[in-house]
Each structure stands twice: as C-alpha cells, then as structure tokens.
Symmetry: C2
Subunit: 204 residues, 2 copies
C-alpha cells in the first residue's frame, strides 16, 4: 500500500528488512506506532538502540551478557567443568529453556561453512582452546545442528579437543519425541537404528 508519505514509506521499508515481517505486517506496525502516544514509539526505538549499544558478550563463553562475564559462567550452581558448545546465542536460550543442562556454554558464533566464507579463524575457537587447556574441563557436549556444515565443525573441533584429554559427546540424534516414523527422513531413521539405545525395562 502506498501511503503518499515518504516518512511513512521509509518506516515501512525499514521494518520489512526484518526477518518474518512482510509489507502488510510492516504497514500495520507503523500504523500502530502512529495510533499510540509518541512516547511509546520513542521508548521502543530507544530499547532497541540501548540494546545494541550496551549489550556485552561474556568474555568466557561469548553468550550475551549485561556484564563482562555472564551469570551462567559466574554461577556456583552450574558445573563449570562441563561445556556445551553451540553455534549461537539462540541455541543457548533454547537449551536453557529445556532446564536439562547444568553445565556452562561456549558460543562459537557460527559454524564452518566454506560456501559462506566462514572458516575456523572466524569462530570463537581460540578462547575455547584456552578454556580447555586449563585442565578444569572434564567434558564437552557439542550441541550443533546435524547438517553438513555442522558435522564438519564437530569433526574439526573433535580433532582439537581429543588431544587435550577432554571427553567429547554430541547431543543425540534420532526420531523426535512424538514424531511419526513415516514422516522421518531416511537419513535420520537409518542413523537412529545404527545408534539404537538399550531399552530400560525398569523404567522409573
């Protein structure tokens, strides 16, 4: 929809550059801003600016943080000897949401992808090596997507980590809970048979 207002169209264009926001949603959002008191939109804009200007990345794990070191890396209730290696901050949040992991994280900031020009030197691997060479880390679990790039990254990291005497695991792959075998792709299904688990007959 053309609004005949350059200011309006600029704001719509700016919003449509965001992921998942089309022209219709953008128009609706801009009209929403205009329908509310001016201060509300200014506050909103300032929250975004404050975020990008002030957010820090934890010096230890590279996850987002309000301080130099994040609350997970500082927590005494977390196992500081157990590191979960992930691609991005989003993955940290997703795993935290499960409540199943009590260790700490290391955010790589991407995965090795020759096509996109991302090599090991572009990832937070040096600081990972440093953390692992202190001798205080007993285990790492790699929670990295099982794609070709992901597998490459896991292989590359395993070559670095294994000589340090740290135990390495990856998250399990297989059929999703509640997933139908019929709709599971054949690679996943095939691997889930190869990586079958002993069935516990004495379930709690």
């Amino acid at each position: 929809m053309s609004s005949k207002s350059k200011l309006f169209d600029d704001a719509v264009r700016s919003l449509t550059s965001l992921p998942g926001i089309g022209k219709r949603s953008a128009t609706r959002l801009v009209l929403h801003f205009l329908s509310r008191p001016k201060e509300e939109a200014v506050e909103f804009a300032e929250a975004i600016e404050t975020l990008v200007k002030n957010i820090k990345y934890c010096q230890k794990c590279h996850s987002i943080s309000d301080e130099e070191v994040c609350s997970i890396c500082l927590s005494k209730r977390r196992d500081q000897g157990f590191i979960c290696i992930v691609e991005s901050v989003r993955d940290v949040m997703a795993i935290e949401e499960t409540g199943q992991f009590q260790g700490v994280y290391h955010v790589l900031g991407g995965i090795i992808s020759p096509i996109e020009g991302v090599g090991p030197e572009n990832l937070n691997i040096d600081t990972l090596k440093e953390r692992l060479s202190t001798g205080r880390i007993k285990e790492v679990v790699m929670a990295i997507s099982p794609t070709i790039e992901g597998e490459t990254t896991i292989y590359y990291l395993s070559q670095i980590i294994a000589p340090l005497g740290v135990s390495i695991s990856t998250i399990s792959r297989g059929v999703s809970f509640g997933g139908e075998l019929e709709y599971t792709d054949e690679v996943t299904l095939g691997r889930s048979i190869l990586a079958r688990l002993p069935y516990n007959t004495n379930k709690e």
Copy 2:
C-alpha cells in the same frame, strides 16, 4: 525464552507489545538486530523515531502527510467535491490501493463507540462540517465498516450531513467477489438479497 540479560529481555518485551508479534518472533528479531552491524539497528530505531516525531496530519482530511496539506487534497486530478469518509488512515490506504476512487478523503480518527468511551466529540467531525458547509462538496460516500458502531456513526453523520444538501451514499455491502454463498453469514446474505442490483445484460 529467558536470556539472563536484562537488556535483551527489555528489548524482547518492548517488541512483544506490538500487534502480531509474539515472544518467539520478538526473540528472533532481537537476535537479528544483534547479528547485524550495530548501525543497522540504530538506523532502524531512528526511522521509527523520525516517523513519529515528524509525521503530520493533513489539515483538511486528517490523513497522514509529510506537509500541512496532503498530496491528495492538493491534487488537481482528484474530484475535490467528492469526499469519502473513513475511520482511519489505514482505510485511506486500502481504498487508494484499489485505484477506484478519484475523490478526496476525510479521516474521522475512529468511530462512535460508547463502550470504548468514544463519542462524536472525539472524532474529526467539526472539520467535516466546515468542509461541507463551503457548498463545494456535492457528495459524500461513507466507507465505514458495517458493524454496530459503524452503523451508529453512519446514522449520526447522516443526520448532520443531510440538512446541508449534500448527497450521501455508503459503500455497497454484500457477498465478497469470489466468496461462496455457503460460507457467507446470514445477515450479509439476507441484506444482499434486499439490496439486490439490476443485472446488466449488456456487459462491456
């Protein structure tokens, strides 16, 4: 998802206050801002601020405008004697999109709704009266949603406009083009029979 960062959570909260944006989309948007150069997010925030601080409302029709009077009200190609009365700026855009209306607009800024505490005094009705009393307006068409509040508003306005000798119409209501009779609500279907139109056997 909790991020353990107050700055992050503030930005997410700020985004979820927007229509059509849930917590998941908001998190995705904030991570998007963080994954892009800082300047991009700042530019985005500034586009929103610039918009709300600088947008004007046309002194004649109350639609949004970059100048004191909007381009439609200034256009010599538009019929300045034919006013389409609408609830909001969004309706102006929707009607402009059709390309079927060659007159000008008058944005009420809402509709009469006792439940939401909106009375005629809260709407742009005084300026409408002024425009109509110049004698230069031949017709108004009310493009207002056929809801109870809409019908109330149309009735209220008709009582004001009729004595001024201006011809009044409303947009037609009926079954949508491409709509199935089976799925049309009974009020619409009933009225569409009462308001039946002569069929043109010499279609162009």
